[in-house]
Subunit: 335 residues, 2 copies
């Protein structure tokens, strides 16, 4: 029996506190804008990791509720800005904050999110250390977003971007990007639980590696679903990465390694212009013709296995079991 | 003899520490973007207030260097986003970060600014209290920016903005806006110095009122200079508020109170459309025909007087004298 519904319930515990801190100090007219992003859903994976890591390290998860709420808000903070930068219209199947309220208001909402995060961290036990952790994570997320933009093959005219664009990416550059844009927040979540539990350095490091491996697996699966998921279940447009000219998709990179020059150039040319729906489908078919899907899945499964192995040294507990189930659920989502 | 050059030197003390924290953890390619905004100049009024408030409250200003740097970075953080929201091309006579690097990179730079601020606050004595102070100030600044956008009479098409637009402003609404968009950061600066000095509640409150009155005077003078300043000295385009359809300029509001209906409607119509340079000049002439300039100056001078009076209860010191000179310098800048 899968515990996935139970896992989702764990993360949901932060919702009331997240909402409370988010609307605190905001005028009535601003509140609907602030709530739009978090009300759009989300699986609350990050707060679940915080609470479970705290418990699995011997701490009381009740102590971790503020930092768990903060980490879910950080995730939503980055989504708000990601949508502004990518002009995103839909997320989780719903209109984005910027699509409903405009870029200016979405940007201001993001500023307010950061202060709710700050107050939650300040309220938390071990706040000094957690403030540092949160800043490090957000700095990495910001760098990840910068690299993600540079991985786009066309569509932006700013001189800085056209000059710094990454046109010949490697798997190594991809992993660096993923570590920053996705894994960094899962690392911070797993670490935060250990910090609140006042766990040993060894346990904190193990949980950090759990977050890193899980984060990499998570992004590779996300890349998979972007091209081969079911739109209604994934909640995003299929082929969005191709449409947005992103060379930063694991499956595109793996396919490019295998394709003959003529098909490789075909796929790259689809990425490097404003492609039609048919051309995007053609790109997906080219990727399908390679072993990219299988290789990506194997890679993600390997990372999930590593995530579960690195926390072996933690004493057995139901929280540890749930952390392993959470890792498994990542590769099982709607593929 | 004026001590203004000396005042500017005080605030400049934070520059090395501000730069150090700002580039920390950033990739080489990101650093020029991060430094652009703070290298564009600025009078460093906020850090000067922090350092002087600390000293005037009996503290050692060296303890306040981190929070002083943080407050100058908060100011620059809001300017970065203000330029994105208003599509600003020039600030302090130089191209804005977004004009040089584009909106996406300017937005990411802003996220990084907030983390430099967080690390500076965390490093500071009394960090718990200062984290709360900083969040409160940024929440108010964000609300101030939201109101400022709603004070614009045209130029944005988002439904939220057209629905919530403030078309019949009052002096009371204006003061609420100014308290948030300008005074809140000067209040926080004055308070921060007192907090680091571990001053009495009474002293902290007096300095808070100093910041409030100074902030209101500062904004009214800024509004004055927007319409009647010298472009090369002010570093901004003259009549920018009219061009940007902002009803949130003290002199426009005061002029509207005095103008006969025909001229009042003329001025409002200039604000409510894309006006030519000649029309903007016509608007400025209409304001000139009223007592708005004199009334605005009197109001600002009154607030400066109040700022100096409220800190009377502090023991005499050279720092207190400099706080008074700083207040005086606000009404004397390039009018």
């Amino acid at each position: 029996m899968s515990s996935v519904p139970k896992l989702f319930e764990i993360g949901r515990k932060v919702d009331p506190i997240m909402i409370k801190y988010l609307v605190e100090g905001a005028s009535e007219d601003f509140k609907p804008i602030l709530l739009h992003q978090i009300e759009a859903g989300g699986k609350r994976i990050r707060p679940a990791i915080v609470l479970l890591s705290c418990e699995a390290s011997g701490g009381n998860p009740e102590w971790a509720i503020w930092i768990a709420a903060a980490l879910e808000l950080i995730h939503n903070y980055t989504l708000l800005y990601d949508d502004i930068i990518d002009r995103g219209e839909l997320r989780r199947g719903k209109k984005t904050t910027r699509a409903v309220y405009g870029d200016a208001m979405a940007l201001l909402a993001g500023l307010h999110y950061r202060e709710a995060i700050n107050k939650l961290v300040n309220r938390s036990p071990a706040s000094y250390k957690l403030h540092e952790l949160v800043s490090q994570a957000i700095i990495e997320l910001t760098e990840g977003e910068r690299l993600d933009v540079l991985f786009e093959q066309t569509g932006r005219t700013e001189r800085y971007i056209t000059e710094k664009r990454i046109t010949t990416p490697s798997w190594e550059l991809y992993l660096n990007l993923v570590q920053k844009k996705t894994a960094s927040l899962l690392v911070a979540s797993a670490r935060a639980g250990a910090i609140v539990a006042d766990a040993s350095q060894e346990i904190e490091e193990s949980l950090s590696k759990y977050g890193l491996n899980l984060g990499i697996a998570f992004q590779v699966i996300d890349d998979y679903l972007d091209l081969f998921g079911k739109e209604e279940k994934f909640g995003k447009e299929i082929g969005k990465d191709i449409k947005e000219h992103k060379l930063s998709n694991a499956l595109i990179l793996l396919a490019l390694e295998e394709l003959e020059d003529i098909d490789k150039n075909k796929l790259l040319s689809i990425l490097r212009k404003e492609s039609s729906v048919d051309e995007i489908s053609e790109g997906i078919e080219l990727i399908k013709s390679t072993r990219a899907r299988e290789r990506a899945m194997n890679f993600a499964e390997e990372r999930v296995k590593m995530a579960k192995t690195v926390i072996n040294l933690l004493p057995n507990s139901s929280a540890k079991t749930l952390l392993c189930e959470l890792a498994d659920s990542v590769v099982k989502r709607e593929v």
